[in-house]
């Protein structure tokens, strides 16, 4: 009796396992079918890789940006040139008018209406 029970139990276990295995095999076939309708895996990987690269670039850009910002703080010339360009454009101030293109300032130092004459070698 015990032997018959053990055999029954073993066969039940094996049957259930094979059924589960068969079901698993069957499930695994569905994704294969759906993958066939999707874009090629290589292309998707390439896109993912590109996305990652963009992310890396942004990260490096930010890092370099902050680094250059630090350098700029030490070197006023390099950093502030760009800033001033932007600021000047924003403010619309620009550069000073050259001699000969505008009258000298009325600051009381010059005779009214006379422009300096400049020579440079």
């Amino acid at each position: 009796m015990k032997l018959a029970f053990a055999l029954l139990l073993m066969s039940t276990t094996l049957g259930a396992g094979s059924a589960a295995f068969a079901a698993g095999q069957g499930l695994s076939l569905f994704p294969d079918a759906s993958l066939a309708s999707r874009p090629a895996p290589d292309a998707a990987l390439t896109l993912i890789d590109d996305d990652g690269a963009e992310g890396d670039d942004k990260g490096e850009g930010g890092w370099f940006w902050s680094l250059s910002g630090g350098d700029a703080a030490e070197d006023d010339d390099d950093c502030d040139e760009g800033d001033d360009d932007d600021d000047s454009a924003a403010r619309g101030t620009g550069n000073a008018a050259k001699a000969g293109t505008a009258p000298p300032p009325q600051n009381g130092l010059f005779t009214n209406g006379t422009a300096p004459v400049v020579k440079s070698n």
Partner: protein
């Protein structure tokens, strides 16, 4: 004849005050051999109390660099209008700049001081590189600079 004399007297009376108030002055800046790019120079005047009186010349066209003329920038707040119409090119190493301008007579022997700030790209700023009192006796006497300017002279 009387009308001619009257006209001559009138024209003399009108012109004479102008001549008395202005005098042609030549400013000469000889640059040192500092071995860098063209220097920016701000030439300006302070009064007897040390207050900013006005600018005479700005050598260098890009206003974004004016902040490196630190004393001038501090006096003026970097106001570009201070040098509108009196701005020219920067002055290279070893070169000279000669300016002739009609300056008010009141600037001389009245406690005014002429200052020159200098700066060159990627080199140290040099505020108050030259400071000379404006006097009749000081005309023609070269004043040495400290970094970029070999000497500065003004004459009538």
């Amino acid at each position: 004849m009387k009308s001619l004399i009257a006209a001559l007297a009138l024209s003399t009376a009108l012109v004479a005050p102008g001549l008395a108030l202005a005098r042609p002055v030549t400013l000469t800046v000889n640059m040192a051999q500092y071995g860098g790019p063209g220097a920016y120079l701000a030439i300006y005047v302070t009064d007897a109390s040390g207050a900013y009186a006005g600018s005479l010349w700005m050598a260098g066209g890009k206003s974004k660099y004016y902040k490196h003329l630190t004393d001038w920038a501090q006096f003026t707040g970097g106001d570009v209008a201070q040098v509108d119409g009196i701005t020219g090119a920067s002055v290279g190493s070893g070169r000279s700049l000669e300016l002739t301008m009609d300056l008010a007579d009141a600037l001389f022997d009245a406690g005014y001081t002429l200052h020159i700030d200098a700066a060159a790209e990627d080199m140290r700023d040099s505020p108050n590189e030259v400071a000379v009192p404006l006097t009749a006796a000081g005309a023609g006497v070269p004043a040495p600079g400290r970094r970029y300017i070999a000497d500065f002279t003004y004459g009538f």
